[in-house]
Symmetry: C2
Subunit: 220 residues, 2 copies
DNA sequence: AAAAAACAAGACAGATCCGTCTAACACCTG
DNA sequence: CAGGTGTTAGACGGATCTGTCTTGTTTTTT
């Protein structure tokens, strides 16, 4: 795995990524290059020199903005998470209708994400998988990301007036994680639809013991 | 992260791991040490010297058995996968009753696994997360592992005479992956139960449109 | 007992890693 | 103009990494 300037892919297929417009200041160029390399080749396996090579910046510049590689990793995760969440929740906010529809739309948006040719899985899942107990900052970043997601899911569950709000959020979270991992491993975006069917089934089952059984059929 | 002989944990809580009996030949000692360090601290982050230090063997011995670190990684994944599958499917084979019960028992066995204090997630999920496109041998090992699992799931689905066998296997696989990742991130084994409830719901829904609606209620 | 294989201990080479440092250039602001 | 800031280019140090090699000891097999 040489150091050259291969890997030209910009992974802005679904428009969620950094690469909306090419970065012009050095800091953003470093962040963009680091994001790509960390996420595609791993955090430990990516050297500072590769990042500089790809970013086209000098080493002193990098260490002017970030005090260490660890801090750069934390910054990348933070930015990657925020960008992704803005994209993800933004897409979901476009969905009209009751919260139930928004929950199901989660999996349609996921499928868009999976279908991006540059899809490399969830940066946080990958980071925790790589560092596990090793890096506390990484765990905190992952926790924060998951918390954002759970909060959103809980809000939908409350709007739906489901009996057990936390458990529904947990269920959908499991489906999301499972879909991401399955799609990443198999390179098959349609796992999002499999997860969606499970979610439909779950929503139907918790609507059953609700007081009013208004919605009759065709939830699909 | 020094090199010392900390990390004495043997992670044989659920009895699934290598450490059933301490290895006595050098090759097994290397495999055991490499397994532990790779899975707990990452593949790239673990140096050959740490492995030798922990295994208490000489460097020449390692390179006598494995031609490179990459080959050692592949061997570890293969062994780890086989050990895990033997444990996992062995536990499931103990379950009496129809295939449906065995499917649900999957999540009980998973919870046992998650509760092991040395639980570090699925080695294959972690390896693919770290290498992604980088290492072909790793991907092949992960594919093979997943294939074993899917084959078992399909066999249960066939025994249950479900309409869409592949889709049911995919569904359960998504739930398994999701439970593993959620449990790994949150350190909360009870995500297995959340996944189990989703599986119950899924099984109930595909039993509905089966010809005979024998099973009335209480699938819990 | 003799031959062969496995193993220990560690020096060594070549590469790569992270991070610091110097020296110089460009730009904007006061 | 002076001064601060951001940037480039690359040398450099010290550490670490993978893999080879040598020498000799232990263990197993024949």
């Amino acid at each position: 795995m040489k150091d050259g300037v291969q890997d030209i892919c910009v992974r802005d297929g679904s428009g969620w990524s950094f690469a909306a417009l090419p970065p012009n200041n050095a800091r953003d160029k470093i962040m963009s290059a680091a994001s790509f390399l960390f996420c595609n080749h791993g955090f430990a396996a990516t050297g500072i020199d590769s990042i500089l090579n790809r970013a086209g910046t000098a080493k002193a510049t990098l260490y002017h903005h970030f005090s260490s590689k660890e801090e750069l990793i934390a910054a990348v995760l933070e930015a990657e998470g925020e960008t992704w969440r803005n994209w993800f929740f933004g897409r979901l906010a476009e969905v009209e209708g009751p919260a139930q529809d928004r929950i199901l739309a989660v999996f349609d948006v996921l499928e868009e994400w999976f279908a991006d040719p540059g899809f490399y899985g969830c940066p946080f899942i990958n980071a925790v998988a790589e560092f596990d107990t090793g890096n506390e900052a990484v765990r905190r970043a992952a926790d924060l990301h998951k918390e954002h997601l759970i909060t959103w899911l809980r809000a939908q569950a409350i709007e739906m007036k489901v009996a057990d709000v936390p458990e529904m959020a947990r269920s959908i979270a499991v489906l999301i994680d499972g879909a991401i991992v399955a799609a990443q491993h198999s390179r098959d975006p349609s796992f999002a639809r499999t997860a969606r069917r499970l979610a439909e089934c779950h929503l139907a089952s918790i609507k059953v013991d609700a007081p009013a059984r208004a919605t009759g059929g065709r939830a699909t």
